[in-house]
Symmetry: none
Subunit: 201 residues, 4 copies
DNA sequence: CATGAATGAGAATTCATTCAT
DNA sequence: AATGAATGAATTCTCATTCAT
C-alpha cells in the first residue's frame, strides 16, 4: 500500500471511529457532520471526500462491525472440532452472544440505530471469506454436515431475529432474564427450529 | 361530546392522519411539522396545541395502530370457541398476519419508522380492555386454560419478534416465501416454543 | 389593506431595496442573502418567505424598475399633444434617456446585471395599464395614428436594443459622445427605422 | 514548436474546450473549476498553471471565438471585389449572421454568458491583423473607400448591437421572423445608418 | 511540471418554536 | 383557540486554493 493510500485509510478510519462514538452517545439525529469531523480532527470538507452523508457512515459502520462479529465467531468455530450442523449454529450464536455481552457499546449502537431492513441487508452481504457471504458460509456448513435444509435463508433469518431481539434487552437490561437463563431457553428452541427445517427425505 | 370537544378531536385526527401518510412516504426524518400541518390544512402553530413534537405523534400513532390491530384480533378470538392456550396464541398470530397482509401501508409504517425499542415498549403498554395491557390479557388467557407459563413475558417477546420480523419481508416482498408457506413454518415453531415454556410440575 | 398585508409589503420592499443597493455596489455574485437581510434589518430566514433565491429578486427588480420608467414616460406622453406615431416614439425614447441620465445608479444596475434574454422578456411583460403590456400599448399608439406597422414587435425590439446599448456608454462614460450628440444621431435613425416599417399600401 | 510547448498547448485547449461546453450547458455560475478539469481529464491543480480563475477562461474564450468569426468574415471579404464602404459592411454583417446561424452553440454561449460590457470590450480589442484591432480595420476600410465617417466608433457600436441582439432571437428561436426576413429589414437600416454618418463636406 | 487530497471559510437553506393578532 | 409571519440558530454542502508528493 502506497503512503497516500495508507493515509487515506487512516483518515477514513478516523471519521468512522469518531462517528461511532458520537452516534452512540447522542444518536445519529443529534450528531452533525461538523461534530464528527471536529472529533476526528479533520476539516469539515474532508468528510465529503469519503462519504455522501452521515447515513452512509452508519451503514458502513454496521457492515464493518457485523463483519467483525461474524469473522470472530467463525474463526472460533474453525478452531473447534464440532461436526454436527445444529451444534455449529449453536456455537456461533453462543459466541455472538458472548461477544455482544462483552461489548455493550456495540450492542447499543446496533439496537439504537438499526431498522430491520438495514440489518437484514447487511447480513446477506457480509463477506466472510473471499467473495463468500455469511449466508453462503452457513449453506456450506449445512452441506458439509450432510444435512439438507429447506429454506435455509428463512431459517437463518428467523434465528437472527430471535437472537438479535432477545439479546438487546437481556444483555443491556437483564430483562426479562439474565444471559445464562436466556441461553437455556434459546438454544433448545433454535435446535428445534433447525430440525423442523431439515429435509426429511 | 360537546361541539368544541368534537372539533378538537377532528383537528387532532387531521394532524395524526397527515403525519401517518408523510411518515410512510418520506420517513420521519424528512417530514417537518410544516409539512404535516400543510397537509392537514391547519396552521403551523396549532400543532403545539396538540403535540410536543413529531416524535410524540409517532408514538401516538404506534400505540393507536397497534391497539387497533390487537383489539381486532382479540374481538375475533372472543367470537371463536377455542379453549386451548396454544391454539389461542396461534389464532391471534394468524389474525394479525392477515390484518397486516390486508394493510400493507400500516406494515410499511411500522417497518420504516420503528426501531425495536419503540415497538417493544408499545406492545407492553397497549391497553386492550379497561386498564389491562395486551401482556396482562395474554397472561389471563394462560390462566383460563389452566396452564402455567414460566417467563410469559419472554415467550410473548420472542413470538412477537419472530412474527414481526418475518411478516415484514414475507408480506411486502414475498421473500423468502409467500404468506401461506410462512404460516406453515411459523405455527409449529410457535407451538413448540409455547410448550417448552409450559411449567412441567 | 390590512395591517398584516401592509407589514408584509414593507418587508418585501426592505428586502428589495437592500438588494438593489448591494447588487449595484458589489454585483449579484458577491452579494449573499445574509448581506441582503442584514442591510434590510430582517432575519435571514425571512428572505425565503418572499423569494426563492437572489436571482428571483433581480428579476423582480428589473420588472419593477423598467415598469416605473415606462409608466413615467407614458404619463408624460399623455400630457403632451403629440399626434404622429413617429413623434410619439421619439418622445418616449427621449424621456427614457433623460430618466436614465438622471438616475445613473439604475442604469448601472441594468447594464451590470442583465443579459439580453432577461431584459427582452421583461419588456414584453411590463404591465403599463390594466392587463396591457408595454408592447400592447405601443401597438395601440400606432393604430390611433392610423399607421400600419409591419412587424411591430421587431421594430420595438430593434429600437429598444439600440437605445439601451448606446445609452449605457454615453450616459455613464460620455463615450463616444455626450447625450445631446447621441440624440442628434439616434433620433433620425429611429424615425428612419419606423418609416421603413410602415406598411406602404 | 517544441514537444513540451505542444503539450502545454494541448492542455490549455483541453481546459478551454471543456469550459466552453460546460458554460453553455450550465452557465458560468454553475460551472466549478473541478467540473472543468474533470471533463478535461486533468488534475484540478493544473488549472492554476494556465488561468487565474474561470472568468479569465471566459474572457479568453470570448476573444478567441470573436476573433475567429471576424477573421473568417474579413478573409471572405478580401476574396470578393466589393469596393464601396457600405457594401463591405453589409458583406461582413451578412457573413457573420451566416456563421452564427451555422454555429448555434457559439451563439448560445455568447447570449448566455455575456453582458453587454464584456462583449463591447472584446470587440474593441479583437486583433484582426498584426497589431490591428477590428475597429482599426474598419476605419481602414472607410479610408480606402474615400468616405469620411463622423464618429466611426459609434457607428460600429450601433451596428454591432443591432446585429448581435436581433441575431440571437432570430437564429435561435426564429422569433419574430426567420433569418432571410431579418436580413431584408436589417440591411437597408444599416445602409441608412452608414449614410447618415457619412461626412457631408 | 503535474497531481489530487486536504482545507476551511462561507454560502444556502431548513425548521422548530414563539408570539402578536 | 387558532393563526401564520417572523425568527435565527443550526446544519449541510460547495469550492477556490494550497501544497506535499
Amino acid at each position: 500500500m502506497g503512503k497516500i493510500e495508507e493515509n487515506k485509510k487512516k483518515k477514513k478510519d478516523a471519521i468512522v471511529n469518531s462517528a461511532f462514538t458520537l452516534f452512540i452517545d447522542h444518536g445519529i439525529k443529534d450528531t452533525s457532520i461538523a461534530d464528527i469531523m471536529k472529533k476526528a480532527e479533520l476539516a469539515k470538507g474532508t468528510f465529503y471526500l469519503y462519504f455522501k452523508d452521515k447515513y452512509e457512515v452508519r451503514d458502513y459502520l454496521v457492515r464493518k462491525k457485523a463483519t467483525q462479529l461474524f469473522e470472530n465467531a467463525i474463526e472460533a468455530l474453525k478452531e473447534s472440532d464440532i461436526t454436527e450442523f445444529d451444534k455449529k449454529i449453536i456455537f456461533i450464536v453462543d459466541n455472538l452472544l458472548d461477544q455482544l455481552s462483552n461489548n455493550k457499546i456495540l450492542l447499543k449502537f446496533i439496537s439504537k440505530n438499526l431498522s430491520w431492513g438495514i440489518l437484514r441487508n447487511s447480513i446477506e452481504n457480509i463477506p466472510v471469506n473471499e467473495g463468500e457471504s455469511a449466508a453462503d458460509y452457513i449453506e456450506q456448513l449445512a452441506e458439509e454436515s450432510g444435512k439438507h435444509i429447506r429454506n435455509l435463508e428463512m431459517l437463518i433469518f428467523m434465528i437472527a431475529e430471535l437472537v438479535n431481539s432477545t439479546a438487546h434487552s437481556v444483555i443491556l437490561y437483564q430483562q426479562p432474564v439474565e444471559l445464562p437463563e436466556l441461553k437455556k431457553e434459546l438454544f433448545p428452541i433454535i435446535i428445534n427450529m433447525i430440525h423442523s427445517f431439515e429435509e426429511t427425505c
